[in-house]
């Protein structure tokens, strides 16, 4: 009898322990998502969903799982307000928001999809969108869009809208777009009596101006652009080069490309108007943005999503078109919302996407909080965006789009990550490996890309 009761007490003890640890684990898993989302609504939703299945048929509330990254860091509250506005307009739909920082976003997204617990709606950048579409993981929205008479594709900027078309099918709707432009520190330009950059500047004028403003003793540099894959594919375009030939053959080691890479490296190694290539500080994330903010960079190529970050800068600054060599070229990035192919709530998902991307309530919130550039074509709405200063010359963004380069996915849209690595690794070698020339690097990169195609 005593032995038996001892066994039972042991079993009960274990049971209690398991329950306790299970609860603990569960909380831990939920915390990261709750930290970034309106805790009250999320918790309430989950409560409804899990504990009260019987109540569901009454009002038929649909719960959408939504995952995104562009709000991470500074715009969580804006996103929260937009989602609340959507829920208020659609009481039958609840949205569970999960915001993940960009560095971990795609890892988390892919693991969730793999585990069968993926979001119904998620955000995706154009360059990764092609990969998801090519892998057949997205819902084709073409017919849904055609059937929805209240939705007008014309209300978007055409180019940005078409970015989410793959193989003639519309898989998503663009929310916002961005470009990379030349930021410049007006105070430094004034100090050295250099004329502000103009649209007809080329690399030559940029270099001449940078030379006048470089002051290594005080850690002030004339110009800076990172040396990595994205910067590379745009810079080669500014020199008339490209990753692919017109008929989609790899062309990484062309004369134009080698020349462009030498220019990228030469600003630091030869002309010394940029920080040394192996500078420790500039190898840290966001170091260039911080340096500009600290008044240590006269010119910087950076994304238009940094307007807010620089708004409080203790000096006057503005933006200009990027100087090119033989031609102009600017990055174009678009973020859109797509629906997972596995979703069971297609209709609700579409309503949500439509609201987030084009509803005046959502768009005006976005503008009011200075959260990236909405892709709507309504002039009145956009004027509100351009009226927000700084920068003075915000509208230049639109001019930049006249000479845009899209992410060069080429014939292998499903291997975007591999392509980045195939070329990016070689760029880093050219940057940091002693006696490794731009030509050697691009020859090796060409081979890497050919290998990708062979697969």
């Amino acid at each position: 009898m005593t032995k038996k009761s001892r066994i039972w007490s042991v079993l009960i003890l274990i049971a209690v322990m398991l329950v306790v640890t299970a609860c603990g684990g569960n909380n831990g898993a939920k915390q990261p998502s709750n930290a970034n989302t309106p805790a009250d609504t999320t918790a309430a939703n989950e409560g409804n969903k899990e504990k009260d299945p019987a109540a569901e048929p009454k009002q038929d509330p649909v719960t959408l799982k939504f995952m995104q990254y562009t709000a991470s860091g500074s715009q969580e509250e804006t996103l929260d307000a937009m989602v609340k506005a959507f829920e208020a307009a659609n009481p039958a739909i609840k949205v569970n928001v999960e915001v993940v920082d960009y560095a971990n976003y795609y890892t988390k997204l892919n693991t969730q999809i793999a585990s069968g617990d993926g979001p119904d709606v998620f955000e995706v950048g154009y360059e990764n969108f092609a990969s998801y579409a090519a892998k057949n993981t997205l819902k084709d929205l073409t017919s849904v869009i055609a059937a929805d008479t209240s939705f007008k594709p014309e209300s978007f900027q055409g180019l940005a809208y078409d970015a989410f078309n793959y193989g003639g099918k519309q898989y998503g709707v663009v929310e916002s777009f961005s470009a990379v432009v030349l930021y410049y520190n007006k105070d430094l330009f004034d100090k050295y009596q250099v004329e502000y950059p103009t649209a007809d500047w080329t690399w030559k004028e940029e270099l001449a101006a940078a030379k006048k403003m470089t002051d290594p003793k005080n850690g002030v540099w004339g110009t800076y652009a990172p040396i990595q894959f994205y910067e590379f594919y745009k810079t080669i375009a500014q020199n008339g080069g490209g990753i692919w030939t017109a008929d989609n053959k790899p062309n990484v080691n062309s004369k134009e490309n080698i020349e462009a890479l030498n220019w990228m490296l030469g600003k630091a190694s030869k002309e010394k108007v940029s920080p040394p290539l192996n500078d420790d500080t500039f190898s840290q994330p966001d170091a260039d943005l911080n340096a500009f903010m600290a008044g240590k960079l006269a010119m910087l190529r950076a994304g238009t999503w940094n307007f807010g970050r620089f708004a409080e800068a203790p000096f006057k600054w503005d933006i200009a078109l990027e100087p090119g060599n033989t031609q102009k070229a600017h990055h174009f990035f678009a973020d859109g919302l797509v629906v997972a192919g596995t979703t069971k709530n297609e209709e609700a998902a579409w309503k949500f996407i439509k609201f987030m991307s084009s509803d005046p309530a959502a768009v005006s919130l976005r503008i009011e909080k200075g959260w990236s550039t909405p892709a709507v074509s309504d002039d009145a709405v956009m004027q509100a965006y351009y009226d927000q200063k700084p920068p003075e010359s915000k509208k230049i963004m639109l001019e930049a789009l006249d000479s845009l380069v899209l992410p060069p996915v080429g014939p292998i849209p499903d291997q975007w990550g591999d392509l980045q690595k195939a070329i990016g690794d070689e760029l880093e070698k050219a940057k940091l490996k002693p006696d490794y020339t731009a030509e050697q690097a691009l020859n090796a990169a060409q081979k890497n890309v050919e290998k990708l195609l062979g697969k």
Binding site: V10, T107, I113, D279, S283, G417, K421, D425, K433, P434
Partner: protein, 294 residues
């Protein structure tokens, strides 16, 4: 009656083992077996996996990055292992003596071992900063212009090795110290009577009788060396230009940055086989140099 007694005994054992057993099965055994299966597929997390036979293994064996990361590990081990052994031996002999404050010194040398790799790696990244780091500041007193350690193709790996030695030296020292204390005083007394010198005692008594501990340390250090990851991930991310890329870091990037689960799993199993082979070789070589007291 007896049967019931043993049954209830086993029940208690199993129940008590259950939490850790569940963890072992759930987080070690199942992933282990699944990675073996995944290594024969081209799974990328989001599309359906396709069986590809030995393709991943063949590709990994011919992959330049896999091979260069293996080479980096060899460089690491060659720099790390002898140094940590000699220094560990030196400190263990030193700390084995009877002197004032010896416990305090033992604590000091062990502190890096119990700190988290990520935390100390971040601190070392600051210390090794080429422009503003304390290491180069210190070197400047001797008129030495230190390199930009972690951005320098030649110096990044030595920097990783040095930091790893700093972190692991306490562990090696403590293991060897325990080994030293196992050695019976009788041997030394006999040696003194025979008129052996201090150096003679060290090489003829201490070192041979310490070989079991040395063997253990070498096996463990080699395995850890092949799995080099934390410090590299935090300090250089495999850079500059792949100079400190290691196999585990490659596996991580292939799996969670490039989503090539099959390929990364194949790499993991290749790494396992390498470690397994190296350990087997060590086992068979141990007869030649390891002396057991009894």
């Amino acid at each position: 009656m007896v049967g019931q007694k043993t049954f209830s005994k086993w029940l208690i054992i199993i129940v008590f083992l259950l939490p850790s057993l569940a963890g072992l099965v759930l987080f070690q055994l199942i992933p282990l077996l699944s990675s073996a299966v995944i290594s024969f597929t081209d799974w990328d997390l989001i599309t359906k996996a396709r069986f590809v036979g030995f393709d991943n293994y063949l590709e990994a064996l011919g992959d330049e990055q896999t091979l260069s990361s293996l080479l980096n590990i060899v460089r690491y081990i060659v720099g790390y292992l002898p140094t940590v052994l000699v220094l560990g031996l030196f400190f263990s002999v030193l700390l084995g003596r009877k002197m004032k404050g010896v416990k305090l010194y033992r604590i000091f040398i062990f502190i890096p071992v119990i700190t988290s790799w990520v935390a100390v790696a971040i601190v070392w990244r600051w210390l090794l900063n080429g422009q503003s780091g304390l290491v180069n500041y210190f070197l400047s007193f001797f008129g030495v212009q230190g390199p930009i350690w972690l951005q320098d193709f030649t110096w990044a790996m030595p920097a990783i090795i040095a930091v790893s030695i700093w972190k692991d030296i306490g562990y090696v020292t403590i293991i060897l110290l325990a080994g030293l204390q196992e050695i019976s005083d009788d041997y030394y007394e006999a040696a003194i009577i025979d008129g052996a010198s201090g150096i003679g005692k060290f090489f003829n008594i201490t070192l041979p009788l310490l070989t079991p501990s040395l063997f253990f340390v070498i096996v463990i250090s080699l395995i850890n060396g092949f799995q080099l990851f934390d410090q590299v991930m935090v300090m250089t991310r495999g850079g500059p230009a792949g100079a400190t890329a290691t196999l585990v870091q490659q596996i991580y990037e292939n799996a969670f940055q490039n989503y090539k689960m099959g390929f990364a799993s194949a790499q993991s199993w290749i790494l396992f086989l390498i470690i397994f082979a190296v350990t087997l070789i060590q086992q068979s070589l141990q007869k030649r140099w390891v002396t057991y007291d009894r």
